[in-house]
Symmetry: C2
């Protein structure tokens, strides 16, 4: 038996998917930043105090990466989640120790005209911290396969 997966037919506008949670530690913030966003306010507690953030804050791309992980775990698209692009914003900083979760809503489901075996799905997601504050909003388009005919026949 394999884990249940979602095909285009299983998705409808207004559906909401909620993830588990992830604690973003100072260690992960600094490790990610050291590799991908090596700026003082993501790396050094003291230097961060004098920055626009007023204290250590995660790279937005770290929040995006954690959000992707939470989304992969909570929205099991058949064949995997293949994104074509996204619009992303970080309305407030994410701090060491924040517990993040993501809530994703299906906004559009569009079967492809030229490719009958798949479609596009637009989702909007909010990444929330432990206070329920929004630390990231994202709209993303994904390619989602239709259910193969042999499975419909069952």
């Amino acid at each position: 038996m394999t884990a249940p997966v979602l095909y285009l037919e299983d998705l409808s506008v207004g559906q909401i998917f909620e993830s588990g949670s992830h604690i973003l530690t100072a260690e992960e913030i600094k490790e990610f930043a050291g590799r991908y966003d090596p700026q003082p306010f993501h790396l050094d507690d003291e230097l961060a105090k004098d920055s626009l953030f007023g204290g250590l804050a995660s790279s937005g791309w770290n929040v995006a990466a954690v959000s992707m992980r939470l989304m992969v775990d909570s929205l099991p698209i058949a064949g995997g989640m293949i994104g074509a692009g996204a619009e992303i914003a970080w309305p407030r900083p994410t701090r060491p120790g924040d517990t993040l979760r993501i809530v994703t809503e299906v906004v559009e489901v569009t079967p492809s005209r030229s490719r009958p075996e798949r479609g596009m799905v637009l989702v909007r997601s909010k990444t929330l911290n432990q206070l329920g504050e929004i630390v990231q909003t994202m709209a993303s388009r994904m390619v989602v396969p239709r259910r193969p005919l042999r499975e419909i026949d069952k």
Copy 2:
């Protein structure tokens, strides 16, 4: 002596910044995906062959993270690069061994009306592979400080 940094006054529409390059190895692709985007086509060469990608491909978020690193290294904004949000697209897959670089163009420079000490800058960037093909496009808004008065006086 400190490294030269760019203030709002140093940026003008049409300016272009070119980065160095980064080779995205299969090892980095799998390590990033294992942590943030654990899907078969980012993790397993064999399973990736049967996916929409037709072979191992990087997570888009891995390309975004590498692009951020390349941008940080090539566009030394005073006080650091603080993004408010971005629009991102991945027109083609990034493959193991691809050499990535980023070209960033200044599109808008807008002094803040309410905060005289800073402004917003809109940049558009293209992440290119070794064939010059675009693997990521991004438009992003950043907060950029104005040059402090004492430095103008010098």
